[in-house]
């Protein structure tokens, strides 16, 4: 019986295991160092906020694994020996494989800031990070102030978490406006305001210079690059993005860039070794995608694909139209297709932007300057129907069609107020002025 070993029990590794089980009778072993069972990383914040307990973040009951004959092993893999087809755990155990899938995920970026290893300084990625946060910031008496460095999706989640315990939060963002490397300015500005409305001390155009320790080696303040201001705090959250978790492969013959280099079949340079999820890096970007895609869905899709290859039906990773979603405090965000920020967009990409007067809802539709072709849509505070928009993108509809048919794509709960007419009116008006 062929033995498939998977390192990492995140969404990528687990999806691969499930699909291999569906397609074959191979022996499957998942090795992971973080937790005994797969849990949803995206739900870490809800544990700290008291919405859920850890057990609720596990998508499958514990008995699922045995029932589906997926062996679980909690261990850290320190070495891979491709010649012998073995992986070696930190405890010195050798496990042989016929196929090996690397799904080791990411770790938080650390940019070599002075003081980044002090007590009270942490990222938010793993379950252990969550436990540290519970220890570092159980309440506002122990943690008088927290400083979060890095304005991305995890940073804003961390700010929201701390605010539920009334802990004052200062949010240092390097950019001129929140996440404006990704979001067009209208949206980014709306989120700036929303962050401030939640009593988060948002500091734009601000960089971290260093973190200062107290006599016990704990963080006690941060110093701001631009002003030299010293901000007293007890916890520093480093959330300036993530990077593939591939340290343990440095001495192996597996080719690495930032992540593990793979081709479209998700194969590494070594036979029978594959890489999927956050840790995989495509040789060449697929369409407008990045070479490393560190989101939930892509990890899942790579898992679905690699299972086919391993079970004798070689298949390229061929993702469809891009989509993603997030939540900024109370505002839900969805994106389909490509809507680039002013910083990254090409000249041919034009935007139609609509914003509701209450500053919690807006949409941006990207279309081609010459052909009018619909390129993508961002929505804030309005839910969209994935399959409808996916079809529009495939059918290459033009922007007029999309604006006129927006109602079909609405996915808000029943009885919600609709804004399609207002959006259409705004669209007609802007068109008239061009």
């Amino acid at each position: 019986m062929k033995h498939v070993v998977i390192i990492g029990n995140g969404i990528a590794g687990v999806t691969a295991a499930r699909h291999i089980r569906k397609l074959s009778d191979h022996k499957i072993t998942i090795i992971s160092a973080e937790t005994d069972h797969f849990f949803s990383r995206t739900a870490l914040m809800y544990i700290y906020m008291g919405h859920m307990k850890f057990e609720h973040t596990k998508p499958y009951e514990d008995k699922f694994w045995k029932k589906n004959r997926i062996d679980l092993k909690k261990a850290f893999v320190s070495q891979i020996l491709p010649d012998k087809k073995e992986v070696v755990t930190k405890d010195g155990e050798n496990i042989t494989y016929d196929s090996l899938i690397l799904a080791t995920g990411s770790k938080p970026n650390m940019f070599g800031w002075p003081g980044q290893d002090l007590d009270g300084v942490q990222g938010l990625y793993s379950y252990q990070d969550l436990q540290s946060l519970e220890k570092n910031a159980p309440n506002k008496k122990v943690c008088n102030r927290a400083v979060i460095v890095g304005g991305g999706l995890i940073g804003i989640e961390m700010a929201e978490m701390l605010r539920t315990r009334d802990i004052p939060v200062t949010f240092l963002v390097r950019e001129t406006s929140f996440w404006n490397g990704v979001l067009p300015s209208g949206e980014s500005e709306m989120i700036n305001k929303h962050i401030k409305d939640h009593h988060i001390d948002l500091r734009l155009n601000t960089n971290l210079k260093e973190i200062i320790a107290d006599e016990n080696g704990r963080a006690k303040a941060v110093v701001i690059e631009e002003t030299g201001e010293e901000l007293p705090c007890n916890v520093v959250g480093l959330t300036a993005g993530v990077t593939p978790n591939v340290e343990f492969l440095k001495d192996s013959p597996i080719a690495l860039g930032k992540g593990i280099k793979v081709n479209r079949l998700l194969e590494t340079n070594i036979k029978d070794i594959y890489a999927i999820g956050d840790c995989a890096e495509q040789h060449e970007a697929i369409g407008n995608r990045r070479t490393i895609e560190a989101v939930w869905y892509t990890g899942r899709m790579m898992g679905e694909t690699v299972a086919q290859t391993i079970c004798g039906n070689p298949m390229e990773y061929n993702p469809g139209h891009w989509f993603n979603s997030a939540k900024f405090l109370d505002i839900e965000y969805q994106t389909y297709g490509w809507v680039f920020s002013e910083r990254n967009k090409k000249d041919e990409e034009l935007h139609f932007h609509w914003k509701h007067a209450d500053n919690t809802k807006c949409i941006t539709i990207a279309y081609h300057r010459d052909t009018g072709q619909f390129l993508g849509i961002n929505t804030f505070g309005i839910r969209m129907r994935h399959n409808v928009i996916d079809n529009w993108l495939t059918e290459k509809r033009d922007v007029e069609y999309v604006v006129n048919h927006l109602k079909e794509a609405n996915f808000d709960p029943e009885f919600y107020t609709h804004f399609e007419n207002d959006i259409l009116a705004t669209f007609s008006k802007t068109k008239a002025t061009i």
Binding site: H51, N139, P319, H321, P413
Partner: protein, 633 residues
């Protein structure tokens, strides 16, 4: 040193505790409750009941609403579940246990020891029930009973906590409308209208409370009450039957069972409002789902058999052939009209043994029957023509004096005095035979339809379950019918109804269903016990336009939906597969959709085609792969 103190004060931090205003509000509400406790111990309150009752109710209502205002009003539109798993009350802590025990005790007193609440059978109430007399008199004109006290507090809870729920979900119009709806139905249909009906000398009837949830709807005393109330009563009975067989199937087809369970029903109403802080405590394990299916369908079998038995015995009791010395006929004039069966003379003798005063045999055909076996009859009896005596019968039924004309012109006529008690037999157009065969036919029809057209929609165990239950019910009915038409089923119908009332009506829906809110979650009854929910759910699963649509590939498996599903449905298991949720137990509360941080779920009604859509690969991946995997089945 200071460090230790910090740690000790952990519990005093948000979101674990409530804020100062909320504490004051709780105190106010507790004062209202305290007044009721004082009344319970018969402490004489100065100033009269009206003032104290008003103070108590107003204090409780204000307390709840103030609490909600202080907790939510300053917050932004959004999900407000911070600290749910830190608070003792909502995470099975000490407070939860205390509250659970308190409510349980209340239910035990309510069902089995109402005298401790102050109920006095013949005479003036005392205790807390007496406190409610003024309100009851205002509405129905009668003194309060334990049920009136319960109804008032129940309504107060739905209204007060309904407002709280709306504060919490203010941003979600579906939730707000739904809550307004349950508040309205509770206040108007369950509370005020029935009391006013009583005031107008009509039967007490909560129009929205359908069989089988309202298992007493077809109990003999209830049918008598309807029939004796003339046209209004008859209309009510017809409405009850139409709502079961016509209104409910249509609405469930169009909107799913949510139209009842989350928009109308009182049990659902309480669960959604007062029970909301406990919704996440429902058991999500697959084992629980298994238990649920067995228990709830057994209750359906129980209620079906019980109701059939009750109606059967009622119809049987209406047959003059079944008059015996135990029939309660003392000093009554008996009217009968069935020519088949036991000889008429024998029936008259039985009536005499039961101490009847006189017997009238009405006939419809042209020829009067002759009566045999007449030796030994000492009471008056006559044979009379139905058509000739129409007028007289009408007068008698209205309680006035009239003369019934003998069919034999030589025979004596019978004079029936004013206010004479009469007992009418054989006046139903349906016989017990017809009824039993009707029920058997109906069940067979439903069963055959499911097996023929909906077979594929049922899992294997569901199919076996359905067959098993069908066989059991049919054999009980047939066995009864053929083996011993005199006696009823294995048990006496009255006993059966009594045990149903005790086990299901009181223990399950009351004590466990509500008393255990803080420990087992708010919908234990609706999920494991309610036969109405089971029947609606059965239809929702097989024959309805309702589903919860999963939005392509957007699910991040976070688990909020499953956690906050009060019915214990593992919503995420479907959502993360890109599959729509079509489950019989879903009451369509909409909370899974509300709490989902990625906008993945939408409750909607749509074409039945493609409603159930099993998928292995979700939208967003290679189209060929999606087709390959999703169509291979």
């Amino acid at each position: 040193m200071s460090k230790i103190q910090n740690d000790m004060s952990l519990t005093g931090q948000p979101p674990k505790t409530i804020n100062k205003q909320q504490k004051l509000a709780s105190a106010l509400g507790l004062i209202g409750l305290f007044i009721l406790l004082i009344a319970l111990f018969n402490v004489i309150l100065p100033g009269g009941k009206v003032i104290w009752l008003t103070t108590s109710l107003v204090a409780m209502a204000t307390g709840i609403i103030w609490f909600a205002h202080a907790g939510y009003a300053h917050k932004k539109a959004g999900i407000k579940n911070d600290g749910v798993y830190f608070k003792s009350l909502s995470s099975r802590g000490l407070w939860a246990w205390s509250l659970g025990i308190f409510i349980t005790l209340f239910y035990v007193a309510l069902y089995w020891f109402p005298q401790y609440l102050g109920l006095v059978e013949d005479g003036d109430n005392n205790g807390v029930i007496a406190l409610f007399d003024p309100l009851s008199k205002l509405l129905s004109g009668n003194p309060a009973s334990q049920w009136f006290v319960y109804g008032t507090l129940y309504t107060l809870a739905i209204l007060g906590f309904g407002v709280k729920f709306m504060y919490k979900y203010w941003h979600n119009k579906y939730e707000v409308l739904r809550t307004c709806s349950v508040m309205f139905f509770q206040l108007a249909f369950a509370f005020v209208i029935p009391e006013i009906l009583v005031r107008l000398n009509q039967p007490y009837y909560d129009l929205k409370n359908m069989w089988p949830l309202n298992y007493d709807l077809f109990a003999g005393y209830k049918i008598d009450e309807f029939l004796s109330a003339g046209n209004v009563g008859l209309l009510m009975l017809i409405f009850g039957i139409i709502s079961i067989f016509v209104v409910s199937p249509i609405l469930t087809y169009k909107y799913g069972k949510r139209w009842y369970c989350s928009w109308v029903c009182g049990c659902g109403g309480l669960a959604e409002t007062a029970g909301d802080p406990f919704r996440h405590l429902s058991d999500k394990r697959q084992v629980a789902w298994k238990v649920e299916r067995w228990v709830i369908h057994s209750v359906v079998v129980f209620v079906t058999v019980m109701t059939t038995a009750v109606i059967f015995s009622y119809l049987r009791g209406n047959e003059s052939s079944n008059i015996s010395e135990w029939s309660n006929l003392e000093d009554k004039v008996v009217i009968m009209s069935e020519s088949q069966g036991k000889s008429i003379g024998e029936r008259i003798k039985q009536a005499e043994k039961a101490k009847a005063k006189a017997v009238v045999f009405l006939y419809e055909e042209n020829e009067a029957p002759t009566i045999e076996d007449t030796e030994g009859i000492t009471i008056d009896y006559i044979v009379a023509s139905q058509s000739e005596n129409k007028q007289a019968l009408h007068i008698i039924k209205n309680g006035n004096e009239a003369i019934i004309k003998n069919s034999n012109s030589n025979g004596e006529n019978l004079t029936v005095a004013k206010q004479q008690d009469i007992a009418v037999y054989d006046d139903f157009w349906i016989s017990k035979e017809f009824f039993i065969w009707f029920i058997i036919g109906l069940l067979t029809l439903v069963f055959a339809w499911v097996m023929l057209f909906k077979r594929d929609a049922l899992a294997k165990d569901a199919k076996y379950g359905a067959i098993g239950y069908f066989v059991v019910v049919l054999s009980i009915l047939l066995f009864t019918y053929f083996s011993n038409p005199g006696k009823l089923f294995f048990f006496d119908a009255y006993q059966l109804r009594k045990s149903y009332g005790f086990l299901i009506g009181a223990m399950f829906s009351g004590v466990i269903g509500v008393g255990f809110y803080p420990l087992l979650g708010s919908r234990v009854w609706c999920r494991f016990g309610c036969p109405m929910a089971a029947i609606l759910g059965f239809q929702q699963r097989l024959f309805s336009r309702f589903r919860i649509t999963t939005n392509g590939g957007q699910c991040i498996s976070c688990g909020n939906c499953s956690t906050y599903c009060e019915m214990g449905i593992d919503v995420r298991a479907y959502a993360q597969k890109g599959e729509n949720i079509v489950r019989s137990s879903c009451v369509g509360c909409g909370v899974c959709s509300a709490v989902c941080p990625r906008g993945v779920l939408k409750l909607e009604n749509g074409p039945e085609d493609g409603r159930i859509n099993p998928t292995d690969v979700l939208l967003g991946n290679d189209v060929n792969l999606m087709e390959l995997m999703n169509n291979k089945k």
